[in-house]
């Protein structure tokens, strides 16, 4: 298990480096291309076909008026072909790469410091405190202890009926977990614990930071490639106008521009796909690792397995559609992929649910298995569509989950729904009024005036 993580860490650093190098390369190409085009127009001598003219007064004849001479002694002589090439490849090219890096760096800084906040705010997550939902808070704190996280993550609830959860945060010191209201409504304590353990192990593995970095590189690459295509397109349009004025030597330039344009076009079509494939492959690996981490923290694979099963069953009935593909890897299950339970493609952000459940259940059955061994057992196998691994009651003492010392009476979905609803209202500073007849009135924070209890008709003033 730990070997798996170490190996994965090495591989992912390599991948991130490759992505960065790819990005710098595109920056380099843009820089040198722009310089080359500029030189082609402004330094006609360097590109003149007939270069054997040695007479300095004659060498301008080709492109300049017959009696051309430098208007001022300090005006620099025209560049030679070698000089143009040198400046293009060794000055403007590297400068382009540097500009690309600066663009990447600024985006990275922004994403590093406020990416989590933005993500939470676009998903309408509401921050809750302990008093708002004691059980959720307790579960997160338990997992914080199990994972030896240095600081308590912030807890958010998303007022949404779908079942999902995600973690964000740049480091274990600054992290947050968010769960949907649907998740709180449908899951029991063990299942929520499995989900939270999965999210916390994303935090301890620093997956959010890593995936943010990959996403920013991906975004920058796409930005640069599209930029290159646009610039070349504009260049071609400009050069056809230029050729109108000076038809004689425009042919070479247009040919060159066309070659670069086709190159940029192909790159702009391929690069996003390539980058996405890398991005999603990383994401899939990290989901397995987060599952493994959850098993290590809770010692209760069944909790997470049944949580995943619940999610799969729900989404088979009503698939979700409004999910951003770039932030999808952050969720515990990608809502867009839940129809396809048994197969994954290069564009999947998560491993197939069925496989994840099977691995967890294999560990529950034979506790001596490490996650890695169970993963190898399951890898490459095929299953019938839509069938999940059955729940196997544990037989040996060591499978007893670490949390079985005290068991709570199970709560009904109705109770859960009331608790999660109250949590959201408490977090939004609703006033809770207890009427003498036993009804609890929940009043929005801005409301002023009288409230009539629906049961006993007593009048309360707020």
């Amino acid at each position: 298990m730990f070997e798996l993580i170490r190996q994965n860490k090495r591989r992912s650093i390599l991948l991130a480096m490759l992505m960065l190098i790819f990005m710098l390369l595109i920056g380099y190409i843009i820089g040198s291309f722009l310089a080359f085009t500029f030189y082609y127009i402004s330094e006609p001598y360097a590109f003149a076909k007939d270069k054997i003219i040695n007479n300095p007064s004659q060498r301008y004849n080709q492109n300049y008026p017959p009696n051309y001479s430098p208007s001022h002694p300090s005006e620099r002589p025209p560049l030679t072909y070698e000089q143009v090439m040198f400046f293009t490849w060794f000055y403007w090219g590297p400068l382009g790469a540097m500009v690309a890096f600066v663009i990447w760096f600024i985006q990275m800084l922004f994403a590093y410091y406020s990416g989590g906040k933005i993500l939470l705010s676009i998903s309408n997550a509401i921050k809750i405190e302990k008093a708002d939902h004691p059980q959720l808070y307790n579960i997160v704190e338990e997992m914080k202890i199990a994972s030896r996280l240095p600081a308590m993550p912030e807890i958010y609830v998303i007022d949404d009926p779908s079942i999902n959860a995600f973690a964000t945060g740049r480091s274990p010191e600054h992290s947050a977990v968010a769960v949907t209201r649907g998740l709180l409504n449908t899951m029991n304590r063990d299942q929520i614990q499995g989900v939270i353990a999965h999210e916390i192990s994303h935090i301890t593995h620093r997956d959010t930071l890593y995936m943010t970095m990959l996403a920013v590189s991906l975004g920058t690459i796409i930005l640069l490639v599209v930029g290159l295509r646009e610039i070349v397109g504009a260049g071609i349009r400009g050069s056809t106008r230029y050729s109108g004025r000076n038809r004689k030597d425009a042919g070479g330039l247009i040919f060159f521009l066309l070659v670069v344009y086709i190159f940029a076009l192909l790159l702009s079509l391929i690069a996003p796909f390539l980058a996405q494939i890398i991005y999603f492959a990383c994401s899939r690996q990290r989901e397995y690792l987060a599952d493994a981490g959850a098993v290590v923290f809770t010692r209760n694979p069944e909790g997470l397995a049944s949580a995943l099963e619940t999610i799969a069953n729900r989404y088979q009935k009503q698939p979700a559609t409004d999910v951003n593909q770039i932030i999808a890897p952050l969720y515990i299950v990608n809502p867009l992929e839940t129809r396809n339970l048994d197969a994954s493609s290069v564009f999947s952000t998560h491993p197939p649910l069925q496989r994840r459940i099977q691995i967890l259940r294999n560990i529950a059955r034979t506790p001596s298995l490490t996650y890695e061994q169970a993963w190898k057992q399951v890898e490459g196998k095929k299953w019938e569509k839509g069938a999940f691994a059955p729940i196997v009651p544990s037989t040996t003492s060591s499978t007893t989950p670490i949390t079985s010392t005290l068991t709570q009476s199970p709560t009904t979905p109705l109770q859960n729904a009331r608790l999660s609803g109250n949590a959201i209202m408490k977090a939004q500073k609703y006033t809770f009024l207890n009427c003498a007849c036993g009804v609890t009135l929940k009043i929005p924070p801005r409301y002023n005036g009288k409230v009539i209890c629906p049961r006993c008709k007593a009048v309360h003033t707020v």
Partner: protein, 187 residues
């Protein structure tokens, strides 16, 4: 020739000193982690001890006939609060866990109590505390394992013995059979 040997010896000595320094620092760091993990358990144990008077107070009215069960809990709590070695305290805490277990089995006979909001909140807190103790114990044992690994493995064990580090003991349940107790479910 002799200068070559001298340089080789010097390099070897420098490397040896570096090894000693780094191992010593590693042992100190790991030992501090063990101490920190232990203080985490302490925090949770104290939390449990604080919750119990509350619990007894809440249920007293409902459970007139269960004097003995409640007294058991109080006694176990008082016993567990006494200072002692790691293994002594582990044993005392185990008794307290057992007493709480018995108590929650008895609670099943009191539907009124199970509907009490205060009691439900306390039950959640106690459950969570039990979990936290388990998780903190697990984290503590992990740190102890890391420390003891360094203490026992060659050649770091030499450094450990030289500077007088002691192996740390695990926080284990006294009775292993206890762990095999079937899950009690309150349906």
């Amino acid at each position: 020739m002799t200068t070559g040997i001298l340089i080789a010896v010097l390099v070897f000595l420098v490397l040896l000193v570096l090894f000693f320094i780094s191992t010593y620092n590693r042992l100190v760091r790991l030992l501090n982690e063990v101490k920190n993990a232990w203080s985490q358990i302490d925090v949770q144990l104290k939390r449990r001890h604080d919750l119990i008077p509350n619990l007894v107070e809440t249920v007293k009215g409902y459970m007139q006939h269960e004097r003995a069960t409640l007294e058991n809990i109080t006694q176990a709590r008082n016993l567990a609060m006494k200072p002692g070695s790691v293994s002594e305290r582990a044993q005392a805490e185990q008794q307290l866990t057992q007493a709480l277990h018995n108590f929650f089995v008895v609670v099943e006979n009191y539907p009124d109590l199970k509907a009490n909001q205060n009691f439900l909140a306390l039950q959640e807190e106690l459950t969570s505390t039990e979990n936290r103790i388990s998780f903190a114990r697990q984290a503590y044992n992990d740190t102890v394992m890391n420390f003891n690994n360094v203490m026992q493995m060659f050649p770091t064990n030499i450094v450990g013995a030289m500077f007088g580090f002691k192996e740390q003991s695990f926080f284990e349940l006294e009775n292993v059979a206890e762990r095999a107790v079937p899950k009690v479910s309150f349906q």
